[in-house]
């Protein structure tokens, strides 16, 4: 597997350096850290918003740092949660005295590292709240559900809301409310390759696909013969609609997310079927996001995330 990198152990550092060099008007890198912080941070009077996770999911998370989004993003090694000291640096950098909300994806490592960071913050007198996102409809048991692409909806909605003055408890409440209304389901055709190992995370035959794959290439519900776009879209969309009992007449937003190497052409072919199916069910598609939001290196495949919209969510999203 060919990669445009230098030494594998430097990919995260060099990527962050590149991001900081590319977007000096928006963000800066905290010295000696893997934290990218919005230039204006800490924004006076505003609750700070911090997210993060392993690297390899770009543009998540640093790509979502900015106005109406995150105040800081913390990058771990590739597919490895960031460490508590780094998260804590981010918390300190964005706290304006109004506390900091941590948006965490439900992976053991992420949950534990953010929890430890929160303990460090508490010890220093900084208030934090954590919201753990569990949007992956592929997993049955609610507690085990992973946080995947739907997390971006939470960033966006809460990011906008805190800009308008919500306090920490209100922000946490809104984040939980948003998370409850998000479901995601992914399918993968080809794994990504972690730079350090140079090995694919799993193997699939030419005629196979894997339904419900996680964002690090962990396996999902089942391996199936490859299907055409419309059948595959039906499987994904029906799963998320059913899982949340979306009813006729409701309003939704949909993210059709590419996992890294799927051409945008294919994402739009999928999205076309999504729009058709929603129309048939009289569900109103109020907003579409089609592109790469939460990737897994060069994994091929896509995920659908649905957000059920009520008046509150519409206010901050649309």
């Amino acid at each position: 597997m060919k990669k445009i990198i230098n030494r594998p152990e430097n990919v995260v550092d060099e990527m962050l350096e590149g991001m900081a060099a590319a977007h000096p008007d928006t963000l800066k890198r905290l010295p000696d850290s893997n934290v990218l912080v919005r230039n204006e941070a800490p924004v006076l009077g505003k609750v700070g918003l911090v997210s993060g996770g392993g690297s390899g999911h770009e543009p998540a998370h640093a790509g979502f740092v900015g106005e109406n989004m995150l105040d800081a993003a913390v990058a771990g090694e590739v597919f490895t949660s960031p460490t508590p000291d780094q998260i804590f640096e981010a918390v300190k950098a964005v706290d304006s005295g109004n506390g900091v909300l941590l948006i965490v994806k439900n992976y053991s490592g992420d949950v534990m590292n953010f929890e430890m960071a929160a303990e460090m913050a508490e010890a220093e007198g900084i208030r934090t709240e954590q919201v753990v996102i569990k949007d992956d409809a592929a997993v049955e048991k609610e507690d085990d559900r992973r946080g995947v692409a739907g997390t971006i909806f939470v960033h966006k909605i809460v990011g906008t809301a805190v800009e308008e003055g919500l306090n920490l408890d209100e922000a946490a409440e809104l984040a939980r409310h948003t998370a409850e209304n998000v479901r995601s389901m992914g399918v993968s055709l080809k794994p990504g390759v972690v730079p350090a190992s140079g090995q694919p995370g799993f193997t699939l035959q030419e005629d196979e696909m894997e339904l419900g794959t996680g964002i690090h290439g962990e396996p999902g519900m089942e391996r199936k013969p490859m299907q055409e776009a419309d059948r595959l879209t039906e499987e994904l969309l029906e799963k998320v609609l059913d899982d949340m009992d979306v009813a006729a007449g409701e309003d939704v937003a949909i993210m059709t997310n590419g996992q890294g190497s799927t051409p945008l052409m294919e994402l739009y072919i999928v999205h076309r079927k999504v729009a058709q199916m929603l129309k048939e069910r009289n569900i109103h598609l109020k907003q579409s996001m089609v592109g790469e939001y939460m990737t897994s290196l060069e994994m091929a495949g896509c995920s659908l995330s649905i957000l059920r919209l009520d008046e509150t969510l519409k206010k901050y999203l649309l």
């Binding site: 490592g109 190992s197 396996p219």
Partner: protein
């Protein structure tokens, strides 16, 4: 079994050696039921641990263990970082101010560490994690005269017992039935730590013979 500052330093050195030697193997264990990085995560951390503790002169074991814990916390990441970090940090609290760890202190430290692991990981025995090594080891030290060789054997049994369990916690849980008939990588690295303890104490005892 009494452990001096030098003993604990040696324990950490031998632990590092074992982790580095088994780095690829640990990541391989993590491949079929995880994301294949456990060896690299711990390797990165323990390399820093020995660098850190080499530079310092410790008067007591609490400070030494705290440095170990904080280094693991800040260098490992993933699930293993906070777990091992918490375990060592809790033990460090128990060992604060002590230039030597007596058996009693050792047991207290281990109790605190396991308590820390349970709270941090919200996991229990039988869920195919490193807990399946730490809990039997704790059981053993609580109920027997500590023989490092036996302790190592208990750790090994615990590690082996994870082969056959279905994972309930961590990434491996997503593999459900497929996670059975694999050794848990965290259990294996925990076994290595206890094996390192035995070997460092053994060298020590050998050296004193």
């Amino acid at each position: 079994m009494n452990l001096s500052v030098e003993d604990v330093k040696r324990w950490m050195h031998v632990s590092n050696q074992k982790i580095q030697e088994n780095k690829e193997y640990l990541s391989e264990l993590d491949q079929p039921i995880g994301d294949g990085d456990h060896g690299h995560n711990l390797g990165r951390g323990f390399e820093e641990v020995v660098k850190k503790i080499e530079r310092e002169d410790y008067q007591e074991i609490g400070a030494l263990m705290k440095d170990v814990a904080m280094t693991l916390i800040s260098k490992v990441g993933g699930a293993a970082g906070p777990l091992y970090g918490t375990a060592f940090l809790k033990a460090a609290d128990e060992w604060k101010g002590s230039p030597t760890i007596t058996e009693e202190l050792f047991i207290q430290g281990l109790e605190a560490a396991v308590e820390g692991l349970r709270t941090r990981g919200k996991a229990d025995r039988g869920e195919k994690t490193l807990i399946d090594v730490w809990v039997p080891v704790l059981d053993y030290v609580q109920n027997h005269d500590i023989q490092p060789f036996e302790l190592k054997g208990i750790a090994k049994e615990g590690m082996q017992s994870t082969n056959g369990m279905q994972a309930k916690k961590g990434r491996a849980a997503y593999f459900r039935e497929a996670s059975t008939s694999h050794i848990d990588p965290g259990a294996y690295s925990s076994y290595l730590l206890f094996e390192a303890l035995y070997e460092s104490v053994n060298i020590e005892e050998g050296a004193h013979d």
